[in-house]
Amino acid sequence: MGEPLLEVRHLKKYFPTKKGLLYAVDDVSFSIEEGKTLGLVGESGCGKSTTGRVILRLHEATGGEVLYRGKNILELSSREMREMRKKMQIVFQDPYSSLNPRLSVKGLIEESLLQQSRGMSSAEREKKVLEIMDMVGLERRLAHSYPHELDGGRRQRIGIARALILEPEFVVLDEPVSALDVCVQAQILNLLMDLQKELKLTYLFISHNLSVVKHISDQIAVMYLGKLVEMADHETIFNAPQHPYTKALLSAIPIPDPTAQTDRIILEGDVTSPINPPPGCRFRSRCRWAMPECAQCAPELMQVGNSTVACHLCRGEQK
């Protein structure tokens, strides 16, 4: 067992809206070991991206702690945080809007160096940029191209290069392959896995695509409406899902095999609004096993077999 590099404790992020508080992230706790990948899965609006951004302090948390090597980074001053950003980086989902259209590839990758290593000479920077371009598989000749001239896969490589040039230890990957075609997606996934091995990176991999998450993650956490509902290693999640939502999510994936028997759990209705959610389990309005108890109190996370689950149904099986 490695030491946890990052530990998130009771993280909360509420956004004030006109209709009331939006509980984007509500009491989420998890930890990631050094060199491992935690996959964070959920549907749109479940707070997974917000979690990633609060950890990096791109949004300020409403409450809770984020311990990085034991130090709570939510308490750092903005100067200390700027130092910290060298260690923690992010790759964004949309390779189109996450790159400033007016900067060249070199300018985009170089930006973090300009901010963080001010003493560096221009020649040194250039050398570094070219090295990182080699590493992520961008041809050197593209250094003076602009992002709109490149395809999605190459743009995402720029995003990865930009994050890695400061030699971080921890990278939040916020849906890094969702906007890409399957073939390119496979290339980027392989690249991310190679880089992790080579540079001993720790990943928080955020995605709505379970098959992708399973492929890359060691641990998987499933989120629903701001809460973690289940967390386990990737095999357990797929072979023995406990929470009804995890089960539904798994069975919703279309299987590329026409002979496969689909015994699908179709969830009724839509995700309820995260604004002022009613007390009790947030999934109960779509859960076919909902009990009166579910409306009264929210289930706590508990250990069931190899997983950590928040569901009243699993209480009987608790070990």
């Binding site: 930006e111 973090s112 901010q115 602009y146």
Partner: protein
């Protein structure tokens, strides 16, 4: 350092090359050059002095001696238009410069920081906007006193809210984009983000508005001169000439025609140049 310089140079070169490909923009640029040269060498170009009166030859239609005709005091209109370019161009550019810089800065700050900063700035802008621009310019000019500098300041201030609004709106759109967040994630300072990432992406609407703004500035300045708050007669100025000539438009329409034409040509050339510049600065249109 050499590397960086080389790159900067090549970006500028590229932009100019793209600008030169646009025939209309090149045309606009040439016309503007001619106008500026006219202003510089007015002494040599104008056949008469701008205040040389010749009451015997007043109200002459364009002829070989006075190619643009003469006005009610018998002054040569061509000479006055030529001399007028000095003041009109100066007023137009400097006034727009003032409003673009001040308005742009205020709008950018308001849009980027939001919250009470935004409220404070934009409500102040609303107050300014609630007064008709011309009236506002008049009151500022009246407070500051007559004179060319005060005229430019007054016209400049009057259109600050327009630019503040435009810039704020585009900043609001751009700051939501992920690349701004990406810049923050690597620890970029707010000021750098604003200057390097946000403002360059708002250039297009500013350029378009600024080219139109020059026309507005020239005309406002003319209005101010007309009521005695700007340039003192007999100093020639296109707008002032135009408003003077209004009285004679039925009988001696050419008196209006030439200063009006001068303004129109300036605006047209600025417009096409502005459009060309906007496209040339946009790397997305690079072939």
């Amino acid at each position: 350092m050499k590397q960086t310089k080389e790159k900067r140079y090549s970006f500028a070169k590229e932009t100019i090359a793209r600008l030169l490909k646009n025939k209309l923009a090149v045309f606009g640029m040439l016309v503007l050059c001619v106008l500026v040269l006219t202003a510089v060498f007015a002494d040599h170009i104008a056949p008469y002095a701008y205040d040389e009166m010749d009451l015997l030859n007043a109200y002459q239609s364009p002829n070989s001696e006075h190619i643009f005709g003469t006005d009610e005091f018998g002054r040569d209109i061509f000479s006055r238009v030529v001399y007028g370019s000095r003041i009109s161009l100066k007023v137009g550019f400097i006034a727009v410069g003032i409003s673009v810089v001040a308005g742009g800065l205020l709008g950018a700050v308001a849009g980027y920081y939001g919250g009470w900063t935004d409220n404070l700035i934009m409500r102040a802008m609303d107050v300014i906007m609630s007064i008709p621009a011309t009236l506002l310019a008049i009151s500022i000019a009246a407070a500051l006193g007559a004179g060319l500098t005060n005229l430019m300041i007054a016209t400049g201030i009057a259109s600050i809210p327009t630019y503040a609004r435009i810039v704020r709106a585009s900043v609001l759109g751009i700051k939501e984009q992920e690349f701004v967040e990406a810049a923050r994630a690597v620890g970029t300072r707010d000021f750098t983000i604003l200057c390097k990432h946000i403002l360059p992406n708002c250039l297009a609407p500013i350029i378009v508005q600024a080219t139109l703004g020059v026309a507005f500035a020239i005309l406002t300045a003319a209005g101010l001169s007309f009521i005695g708050l700007g340039i003192e007669p007999p100093t020639p100025e296109w707008g002032a000439m135009l408003s003077n000539a209004r009285t004679y438009i039925r009988d001696y329409s050419y008196m209006c025609l030439f200063p009006g034409l001068a303004i129109a040509i300036t605006i047209f050339s600025l417009n096409v140049l502005g459009d060309g510049l906007r496209d040339a600065l946009d790397p997305k249109l690079r072939q």
